[in-house]
């Protein structure tokens, strides 16, 4: 019963804040709403037994990545309010855009709600279990991920840095 309540609580929280993310005209507010979505997702991860992922979602994703995002927006002063939705595009464009997303959502709901799926078990995603699997079965992706971080560094150095020469 508690589980059911928690699931629906987090689910509603995620969906409403996600709608806020895409509808709020101010990027900074939208970003804060995305952090709420992340918190809701982290609650769902806990319900699914993924404790470590839930923590990482809060600490690394919401806490570090998105806060840095906010920092850059505020420090650079690049947050501009978007025009209200009805002025942003011609109505003729909004119609198919909405129809596409709604249609896809309807397709997924119809496909999934009657599907026979295995019952949920709770694999214990503790630090120990995660660490063992990570360094045994996921060594190649783990090492390769460092290249992606390296690319982030290159981007910061080559793109965002101001030219001293020019």
């Amino acid at each position: 019963m508690t589980q059911k309540f928690l699931f629906y609580f987090f689910a509603v929280l995620c969906v409403t804040s996600a709608l806020g993310v895409i509808l709020h005209p101010k990027p900074t507010r939208a970003l804060l709403l995305l952090i709420v979505t992340m918190a809701g997702l982290s609650g769902l991860f806990t319900l699914l037994g993924a404790y470590f992922v839930a923590m990482a979602q809060l600490v690394v994703y919401a806490g570090a990545v998105l806060v840095i995002f906010l920092f850059v927006i505020m420090l650079q002063g690049i947050a501009a309010v978007e025009a209200p939705l009805h002025q942003r595009f011609r109505g003729i464009y909004l119609l198919p855009a909405g129809a596409l997303s709604l249609g896809l959502a309807a397709f997924f709901v119809l496909m999934l709600h009657k599907m026979p799926l295995p019952a949920l078990q709770m694999p214990l995603g503790t630090v120990e279990n995660i660490g063992k699997t990570l360094f045994r079965d996921y060594l190649l992706p783990f090492e390769w991920a460092s290249l992606l971080i390296l690319l982030g560094v290159f981007a910061a150095v080559s793109l965002a840095k101001k030219d001293d020469a020019a």
């Binding site: 993310v21 895409i22 939208a30 699914l48 690049i78």
Partner: protein, 100 residues
């Protein structure tokens, strides 16, 4: 117990909200946020999949998606800062020199 399909439906909804965000937003920062939503939807699927099959693999994949999202945010922000320094506008409709 919550059925697995509920989790998958929730994740599909988040994905579609993100997709709608891409279609109706014009500010590059908001577009970046919508992409984050879609990546998180995939994460929820992966973790729910791990629970459906009683393994840890899906949870680990969720980490890698987080790493990629972080790297993508870095590069996206770098490009946004560049755009801002150039013209001051981050609106994709104001940036339309390439056409034809």
């Amino acid at each position: 117990m919550i059925p697995a399909s509920h989790y998958l439906i929730l994740s599909a909804l988040l994905f579609c909200i993100g997709l709608l965000g891409i279609l109706i937003r014009r500010n590059i920062l908001s577009l970046l946020l919508s992409i984050e939503l879609m990546l998180n939807a995939a994460n929820l699927n992966l973790v729910a999949g791990a629970a459906m099959h009683g393994q840890l693999d899906g949870q680990l994949m969720a980490f890698f998606v987080m790493v990629i999202a972080a790297a993508e945010v870095t590069i996206g922000l770098a490009i946004a800062v560049l755009l801002f320094r150039r013209g001051g506008s981050l609106d994709t409709h104001d940036i339309q020199q390439l056409k034809g």
